[in-house]
Each structure stands twice: as structure tokens, then as C-alpha cells.
């Protein structure tokens, strides 16, 4: 054959196969069994790769991205102003929102003139990439370090999280403002 592509081992792993007869010692398989057992026994003394999950937990990565939370500021007002940049940046198109105008007397609830009346994240679509957090100009949306991403459920509708599940609880905002002072 000429020096064509058939003769070259592209992967470097090409081996010629031979049909050699085994010797007597080899045909007893004793050496081979001991060799195999050595590998097995060696693994007994290795560090375990599994953990007892509910009792033990693994350390989270510093860039872990859990479930979203819409932040309140130190006065308990919602940061989100429904600018739509999170929905625009979302590659999975999981976020929808509807804006509304802040009325008189609601200044303690919302920080800006405009706020999100409806804010929904479809958790079945969300891929937890964190681009919404990156796009937010108002520091409003954050991916928390929550251990549980989305609780299991039966209906698809239950996975569309509205503001009731996303907005930071008031108690947490109060606790945050206390820890700052």
C-alpha cells in the first residue's frame, strides 16, 4: 500500500492484534487474578467520593447560583423597576413582567416611580445562568445560595414563580438593615 491515510494511526492508539498462544502459567490466570484484586483493594484506602447527603453537605462553590430573589433595600422598598433588561438578557426567555406606576402613598413599598406589578420566572425554563443578575441596573435580582433550586411539584403552573415567591421577605429586609447599622 502506498503512504496513504490508511497506514497512519491518526489517534496514535492503533495496535496490531496478534493471536499468540498462552503459556501454562498464563493459562492458570493466577497472576491476572491477583493483579485485578490489587486494584480493587487499593480503592478501599482511597478517599471516598460519596457523602451521606442529608446529614452531610458538600461545600458550595463561591459562584453557586441558586434560586432568584428580588431584593428590597434597607428601607424595605422593592428595588425592581421593571426595566425589562433581565427578560431581554435571559437566553431561555424565562422572565416576563408587567410594569405599573407607583401611586401616591406607596413610596414606602417601591423605590422608583415605576415598579413590577407582575414579575414571573418560569423555573422550568430557567437555566440558572445568572445573566439576569448581571444585566440588572438596579441591583434588584439576585441568585441566592439556596440549597434547593425549585421544590418538586405536580402542576406545570406551580413552577411559574410570581412575586409572592420571588420578593425578599420583609423580615429578611428588616434583619439586613439591622445588621448594617
Amino acid at each position: 500500500m502506498s503512504t496513504s491515510i490508511q497506514n497512519i494511526s491518526l489517534s496514535g492508539r492503533k495496535k496490531e492484534v496478534s493471536n499468540k498462544e498462552m503459556t501454562f502459567m498464563e493459562s492458570l490466570y493466577l497472576v491476572a487474578i491477583v493483579k485485578g484484586l490489587m486494584i480493587t483493594i487499593k480503592h478501599f484506602f482511597r478517599k471516598k467520593v460519596t457523602i451521606h447527603y442529608p446529614e452531610q453537605t458538600r461545600e458550595m462553590s463561591p459562584v453557586y447560583r441558586g434560586r432568584h430573589m428580588l431584593k428590597r433595600d434597607e428601607q424595605g422598598r422593592e428595588n425592581c423597576t421593571a426595566c425589562g433588561l433581565c427578560a431581554l438578557s435571559c437566553p431561555a426567555e424565562a422572565i416576563t413582567m408587567k410594569a405599573a406606576e407607583r401611586k401616591k402613598g406607596e413610596e414606602h413599598l417601591y423605590r422608583e416611580e415605576k415598579y413590577a406589578e407582575i414579575y414571573e420566572i418560569n423555573m422550568l425554563r430557567c437555566i440558572f445562568c445568572g445573566l439576569c443578575e448581571e444585566a440588572c441596573p438596579k441591583d434588584a435580582i439576585y441568585l441566592t445560595v439556596s440549597k434547593e433550586l425549585v421544590p418538586a411539584n405536580y402542576d406545570r403552573e406551580d413552577f411559574i414563580f410570581g412575586k409572592d415567591k420571588l420578593v425578599m421577605p420583609l423580615e429578611m429586609a428588616i434583619a439586613n438593615s439591622k445588621s448594617v447599622n
Binding site: T81, L88, A100, E113
Partner: protein
Amino acid sequence: MKVTIDGQSIEVEPGTTILQAARMIGGELVPPAMCYYSKLKGSGGKCRCCLVEVSKGSDADPRPMPKLVASCVTGCMDGMEVNSKSSERVEEARKSVTEFLLINHPLDCPVCDQAGECDLQNLSFEHGKSKTRFIEEKRTFEPEDIGPYIQLHMNRCILCQRCVQVADQLTDNRVHGVMDRGDHANISTCISKAIDNEFSGNMIDVCPVGALTDKTFRFKSRVWFNKPYNAHRDCDKCCGKTTVWMFGNEIQRVTGRKDEYHEVEEFICNTCRFDKKDVNDWVIEGPRKFEKDSVINQNNYTRKIEKVVIETEEHILEGREQDRKKISMPDFPLDSNPKRV
């Protein structure tokens, strides 16, 4: 008359301004303009965004102009040579002008309805710094109600006075203008008179920032979530040619058709703009095209996609030919091919 802008020459009529000549050439060398509006007489010369460097005055007097000139109000001369984008001085000047314009402009793009189609946003994206050096307090005004259709945000105004010219030239009795002077200058309807003229809505279209916005569209949606379509209807007051901004089957906003410099092609009346929000009122012609980088094109997949051709090496298919020989059965009786060796 022959003018050369950034090395590109064009023949123009006498009386053409440098900005108009640049727009005839088109492309990157067109100076940005915040106050100049080709459809409004006497506009321009206020914002200083369109500054250019004249390196050769004319054939008769080839001396360069000592200072940068505002291209929207400077006429072309025969043999004039202009540097726009290519000049470092111009770039520096535009950066400074942008910084000046942003001094009193509030940082409320997330709230503003103009965001996404705002000239000042585009200008600062291209020429602005991401940091501010301004530590003093920004100028603020008391919110003022100027009628049921138009929302005035005086804080966002950059005093380009386009809207005043609309009121002057399109509407019969002008009810709004610039009050006070200097830092206190503000656009106002004199004695808070509501603007009820039939063409007053065009102020929204000419406003380069979010100072005048559509009250019927207020906070309804962001412009990039809407799908813009060209549409028309029979209107006895105006041409009836508009862009409708749809969300699903709902018309959320009607505007004039804006060209690449964000100037409307034709002014439209208030009935078309504010009252006809039903799909049945309009004959929809087709999607409106926007410049490539516009945020309005987000999630818009109408662009033509070219077919991908994978150029494989000849050798990759070599093995397959071998296999084909093995698989094909030369002895099979129905095979019409001659027997292979």
C-alpha cells in the same frame, strides 16, 4: 460644489450644510445630531454634538477654520475639506459635549419609556464615559401635567428646542415654549395650558430624549418587547402612514415612521397616534426594519441566514468508498451493475 468629508467627496448644491452633505454620503462619518431635525426649519446649532473640523475652508481660501464648527448650521464651500470621525479633536469635543449633556440628565433609563430608541443613549454609548465627574446636585423641576396625551419629564430635557419648533411650525397657535434662562431654562406650556392641537403629538416623536413621551403608552412595555409594523389608514388630517408597535394582537403605541437618523418621514395627527389602538383601524403592511445594532431587533429572527457549506477533505470519504464496495453485492441477481473484481 465639491466637498470632501473624511476623504470621501461628493457634489452638493450651494446652501447645503456639512451635516446634510455627510448624510448624503452616509455611514460612520455622519455626525450625531441631537437638536437638528431636517423636517423642522431653523432647528440645529444648539446641542453642539455635530462638531466637525474644517481642515480646508474652500478652494478660494484654503486656510483651515480655527475652531470646530457645528456642521448642522455651517454651509458647504467649494473644495471644502472636513474631518469628522477621523479627527481626534472632534472625537474629544463630542466626548465633552456628551458629558455636558449628561450633567443634568437623570440616570433613570430603567424607568424611562424612551430607553431603547433614545438618541442620548446612543450618543453616550458611542462617545460617553462610563463614569461621572459631576458631584453637585442635578437640576430638578416640579412635575407638571401638560394634558392627557403627553407626559412631560422636565428633568430629562436637554433643551434641544425641537418641540418648540414643532409647536411653531405645525400647530396653529403655539402654547408652549422655553421659559426662564440659563440653568433654570425649561420647556413649558405657557400658563400650563394643555396642548390640544391636532398635531401636538409629534413633539413625542421629535424629542431626542424621554422628556416628552406618550402618556397612553406610559410604562406599558419596553420598546424592544414590541414588534413594530408599518401600517396605514385613511386619515383626513394627515398622511395616515405610521408604525404601530404591537404586543401580541394589541397595538400599544403608534408613532411616525422614523428613518435611520430617527427623524419621522411624515408627521401624523393625534387621532392616529392616540385614539386608533384597534387592529381593525389599520392596514398592516409588514414589519418595520431597524438598523442592525438596534435593541429593537432583539429576538427578531427575520434576518436572512446563509447556507453553511462544510468543506470536507477528500480523504475523509475514502474509507466509505471502501465500505461501499464491501456492502454492495455484485453477485446479487437483480444488480444491473457489471461484476466487480
